[in-house]
């Protein structure tokens, strides 16, 4: 009887011992390049995945911005271009960098003006629907990195 009930418990709790995608991802060096007026701002962060499975960043949102989109900049062939991307994969035991000139969050339509030094909470949503909240530091326009 005993072993059978234990088996039942194990079957009733799917995913026992396996964490969500969000639990495997550590965010670091998160910052936003603040531009004057209500111009769209770039959000940057390094995501590290300590899990055995790749994790997918699906979307992001923040109360401080009306819209947050995942974008990718490129300067292929001497032309500066931007495109919207659906997702960004963080490889197993690897990193994905959202950094100036590459992948970034495009943060638009802030309902209230932000100031340098503010901390903006951004919710990152992953492939399995799990999410994590990351604090982004607001940095001046002419910053070249997270400081």
């Amino acid at each position: 009887m005993m072993p059978r009930s234990l088996l039942l418990v194990a079957l009733l709790i799917p995913g026992l011992g396996s964490a969500t995608e969000a639990q495997h991802v550590k965010a670091s060096g998160a910052w936003i390049r603040l531009l004057p007026a209500s111009l769209p701002a770039g959000g940057f962060v390094t995501l590290s995945n300590d899990g055995d499975q790749a994790v997918t960043l699906r979307s992001a949102s923040s109360a401080a911005y009306g819209s947050v989109m995942l974008h990718k900049s490129s300067t292929d062939g001497g032309m500066g271009r931007m495109e919207m991307v659906d997702s960004l994969v963080v490889p197993a035991h690897g990193k994905a960098e959202l950094s100036p000139g590459g992948y970034h969050l495009m943060m638009m339509n802030a309902p209230k003006p932000l100031a340098v030094g503010d901390k903006v909470v951004v919710t990152l949503v992953f492939g399995d629907g799990s999410s994590s909240q990351v604090g982004f530091v607001v940095r001046p326009a002419n910053a070249v990195d997270g400081g």
Binding site: R33, A37, G42, G78, M79, G80, P100, H104, N142
Partner: protein, 209 residues
Amino acid sequence: MIDVRMKPYLARLSLLMALVLACLGLAACQHQDDAAWRLVQVTGHMPDLDFHLTDDQGKPVSGKDYRGKVVLLYFGYTHCPDVCPLTLAQLHVVMQRLGPLADNVRILFVSVDPARDTPDVMHAYVNAFDPRAIGLTGSPSDIEALSKRYRSAFTREPDKGDGNYEVSHSSAIYVFDQEGKARLLSTPNNPQSDMVHDLHLLIEPGTTP
């Protein structure tokens, strides 16, 4: 008879040879001089700095207004959330690394999106990056004339329906000397130190940075 004719021919040939050797010598010197620059040299391949636009104070300006300064010309637009701010932030770092010499340099940020980039918008924008940056805007035809002059390209992508649109644009920085002559071209692949190095050479020729 033949010998008499041969002599002036040989003389001319040796003169020609001397000229060729002299040219080769000059070319070698020229080449050594070229080697000092780290950015792409465009001297003689691009026209002098010339335009008629409006600066971020709302004042009409022309290329001649910036004679006496080394000019860094860059095309972009303020709604560009990543590459343009990155380039301007990097130019700010270059200016900081130049120290007091930066007073001899002006960054001219030309908007390829004049519909949204008014002088006021441009003023707030460029000053967020560097006090020596000037925002230039103008009529679409004047901006097109300037970008065509330097074979720079930009295209406005279709409106996504919410009034927002992207602009693809050339990411090169054109460097002009104090006389307004096009001298160098910097691309995103050039490290900042290349720009700092070459600006030193332009501002203070003969010094080793």
